[in-house]
Symmetry: C2
Subunit: 182 residues, 2 copies
Amino acid sequence: MFYCSKCGARVTEKIPAGDDRPRHVCVACQTVHYQNPKIVAGCIPVWENRLLLCQRAIEPRQGLWTLPAGFMENGESTEQAAVRETLEEARAEVGELSLYGVFSIPHINQVYMMFRGRLQARKFAPGRESLEVKLFEEHQIPWEELAFPVVRLTLERYFRDIRTNHFPVYVENIIRHPARKV
Amino acid sequence: MFYCSKCGARVTEKIPAGDDRPRHVCVACQTVHYQNPKIVAGCIPVWENRLLLCQRAIEPRQGLWTLPAGFMENGESTEQAAVRETLEEARAEVGELSLYGVFSIPHINQVYMMFRGRLQARKFAPGRESLEVKLFEEHQIPWEELAFPVVRLTLERYFRDIRTNHFPVYVENIIRHPARKV
C-alpha cells in the first residue's frame, strides 16, 4: 500500500497515537488504513461414502486437488460463503452445513472456516476455477497431490472422525514450517 | 474508496472479467481492490460463577457494557486475538480458551469469534477503551445496558448452557432488524 484510498496522497508506515503497531497512515488526511486477516470459507461436500474434490485450474497449485473454498464476501454469512464457493468451484449444491474446522494461518493472514455439507444431488461439474471435479472414496484420495496443508488437515480429521461418526469443531493453527520457503 | 492504494490513480466500480459482482478497480493499473469481512475475536472471561464485562470508554455505545472483543490482527490466530483483546480492554489474562460462537453479521461485514476463557487470576483493570471492568453474577448482568446484540446473544447462550454444563459451538447470524435505522 503506497497511496491513501480516500484522498490519493502518499501513506507512511507509523504507529498511530494510542496504537501499538505500525499502520499505513495517510500523510495528508491522516486516515489509518488497517489490514486484517481474511476468511476463507469452504466445504467438505459429502455424497454417501465419498466426498467431492476439485482439481485447480488456476495458480497457485494449478493441477492439484482441493476442497471447494474461497474468500468470504461482504454481505454474506460464513455458511453462505461456503455454499457459494461450492457452487462456483464444483457446480454442486450442498446443504445441512456443520462447522467443522476454524484453522488460522497467521503467516498468510487467513482464517479457514471449513464446514461439512451434504451434496443435495449427485450433480457436479467443474466451475471456472476447476479442471475437474470428482467424488473420492477414502482410499482414492490423492494425498500426494493435495493443493494446500489446510486441505490435508481437514481430510485427515474427517477420515479419522468418520470412524466414530463424532465430529467436533476443530480450532487449530497452521504454522509455516521454518525450513519451507513458501 | 476513491483512489488506488497501489498507484494513486482513481478507482472505478465495475465487475471485473470473470467476476460476478462490482469491485473497486483502478483505472490506470487495473488492480482489483477486494473488500472482505473482518473478524472480531472476543472472550467470555470466567471467574468462578462470575464473568467479566467492560464498560465502553469509546464510541460506539460509550458507557454500555460489553465482552472484551476487537478486530483480529494480521499475523495472529483467532485465540491469540481473543486473548490479546481481553488483555487490552480488561487488563486480564485468560487461558483454556474454547470456541463458543461464530456469529456472522452480514450487514456490517463482520464475523464474531467468541471464546469462553478462564481468568488466570482475580486481576483486572480498565484498559484504554474501558471505563470500568467488573465481575458479574448472572442476576447482576446489566441486560438493558449491553453495547451490542452479539453480546446479548453470547450471554444468553452462556447462561442457558451453564445450567447443563454443555457448551456447543454456535454458528449463527445476526440480521439487522428491518425497522432499525442503525
